[in-house]
Amino acid sequence: MNIKFKQETFRGDFTYRNSPENIMRFPFPFHEDKYMYAVNMEPHVPAGPKGYAFEHMIDVDEHYVSEMQDRALVLKEDPLRCQALPHMMAGQWDTLELLMEQQAANYPEHFSLTKNADQWHWVNRPLGIDQKFTYGDASTLPYEPMEYITRQAQGDFCIVDQRDGNLWMDAGMVTTQADWSLDFDIGMNFLEWHGPVPLAHQMGVFDRALKFLLNLQQGKPVRRLNWTMTINPRLDTSPENYHKWGTDRLTVTPENVGDKVHLRCELQSLWRLPRSNAILFVIRCYLLKMDELVTVPKWARRFHRVLRDLPNELADYKGLTRFRPTTVEWLSKHDDGLPTSPGIFPE
């Protein structure tokens, strides 16, 4: 399948749009008409209609080239978005191998990987990259291995070390985040970096999730969907740049909801890495504006109901409070009250 890569922006004039085909592959995060936290992890295996975001385990879509350009801009302004503690080198190479193998196997028109023992040859056609290097020798790449490959893969990436019965955020590339900071969280353990999340701790969600992840097995990646909302299609909603986007939330009016307000879905996948025994945590962000969302009647009905009935603590934590009433009002016009079918896929 040949993807037609779009040229678009995630800042300034915000020209990001989804093609009609791309709307249909959006990983819609609600399987019912309400939302509450859960350890909603499932095996990361192909699912959904053909071409859906779950078709390949590392998903590449029409926004690939522009997202990589946006990442390069973020890194130029703030190199601390990519950090790796010194003991994470084996995990970095694991990550490089996983991402290269997945992209090359599933998108052979766009990527290819040739291995001759430790002499590797990587070709990335959309970005015009042709790289020969020695696997295991970081001096043969222009960046350290994690930075090298995650400048060429959509989504944020954290490499999480496992020791002392806990998981530690010890490396990452984070430029498309929903208001959290790698520079702040680096070196923290699982319970520490989830500290700010309301309600879920009391529900025991994180204790259970940690127990589950400590036994995550090689060859059996898992996924979950998480979500929030973003005003304007901005990938970099970081605490570091809060002054650039925080006030966007005051700009929502009944007239511009459809264009400005976006559902932001994170397809999170977790992979046990073979050499390092670390876990790769992939947080892939998808943006869908309300005008695009309501082209799928089931999603329009359901998202209206979810947003309307969301507990206030959650709305506050996700930063939706300012524009929730306006958005719910707008969405209500796209909800005819008919029942919705179970599951996340479009009807």
Binding site: P43, D161, K211, N215, Q218, G219, K220, R275, S276
Partner: protein, 321 residues
């Protein structure tokens, strides 16, 4: 939905390594490369022995980056529950067994400045893969390897040749040479990690000594695979499956559950990982906790059991399975 990632492998070679120790080399039937793994990992080997399906965990000892084959070494245990006897006496070259993906419950701490490995007997196997990986990645390690006598000890010559006598120290019971545990542990630089694998008595002794000498808990690592101890037979009622089964004298609850055709989660089958933790709904006797996973409070609560190694001293137990 469960994902089956087990691999069918052929026994490519069996080698007698020492008295009562055999090495088994497994190659994939489909010719694909085996996954790379990290030193310290084990696989669960599933063997068809007549009507029985045996599943035992064994540490991988081959080079973690060698994707052509996996190797394990197995000691023929005198009081074998059947696993080691089957591997030693029935399994032959060319036979097929099924193995799990590699699982590492005994990884090294990648921040360690120095790593001390202490092996007793067949406990050497995980360290062979760990040393291979560490030597390649430039880690600082030394091995202290205790053997009963030189005929029973496997690999001590190969290891000494490969890593040098300055990194590999051999201690032979029969020659009255013992690991000087106290002296070793009293004099190590900050950032040293200790790893012990061997008989339970050895692990407990070394760990107690280290704790007594003030080693931080985070720097102490051990791996023991507990074989499920035998006991009197009892009845297990499985509530969710609506089945009643008998757990035999030489059978674990997990094995009895699997024999009844019910899938229960597991990883280590040795009481260490926590995966098979099961809720006890009722029981008429005393739970015999043989695992090293549950906290003491959990053990006394009478509501949780690790079904891979623990059993009931009584007649009937009801499980949430």
């Amino acid at each position: 939905m469960t994902v089956n990632t087990e691999m069918h492998v052929r026994v490519a070679k069996i080698t007698q390594v020492a008295e009562r120790v055999k090495r088994f080399r497994f190659e994939r039937l489909d010719g694909k490369p085996l996954p790379v793994f990290s030193g310290g990992a084990h696989v669960v080997v599933a063997m068809r022995d007549g009507d029985l399906l045996r599943r035992n965990p064994y540490s991988l000892m081959s080079s973690p980056q060698d994707q052509s084959a996996y190797e394990i070494s197995v000691l023929r245990v005198e009081q074998s529950r059947g696993g080691s006897a089957f591997l030693h006496e029935k399994l032959t070259q060319g036979d097929t067994v099924i193995i799990s993906q590699p699982i590492n419950l005994f990884p090294h701490d990648v921040r360690g400045r120095k790593h001390i490995f202490m092996a007793g007997g067949i406990g050497i196997t995980p360290f062979m893969a760990m040393m291979d990986q560490m030597a390649r990645e430039g880690g600082n390690f030394e091995l202290h390897y205790a053997l009963r006598d030189r005929q029973h000890g496997a690999y001590w010559q190969d290891l000494t040749e490969r890593y040098g006598a300055h990194r590999v120290k051999i201690y032979v019971d029969a020659e009255k040479l013992f690991i000087p545990v106290e002296a070793l542990l009293s004099n190590q630089p900050l950032g040293t990690h200790l790893y012990v694998c061997g008989p339970a008595g050895m692990i407990d002794g070394v760990m107690n000594k280290a704790t007594h000498l003030g080693w931080p808990k985070q720097n102490l690592h051990s791996e023991r695979f507990l074989a499920p101890p035998p006991g009197k037979s009892f009845t297990a009622k499985l509530k969710r499956s609506n089945k009643t089964i008998t757990v035999g004298t030489h059978q674990s609850i997990l094995e009895a559950v699997e024999a009844a055709g019910i899938d229960a989660p597991y990883l280590c089958r040795g009481g260490a990982c926590g995966q098979c933790e099961t809720t006890v709904l009722a029981c008429d006797g005393t739970l015999e906790h043989n695992d090293i996973y549950l906290e003491p409070d959990d053990k006394t609560s009478g509501t949780k059991i690790m079904i891979c190694v623990s059993r009931l001293k009584g007649d009937e137990i009801t499980l949430d399975l």
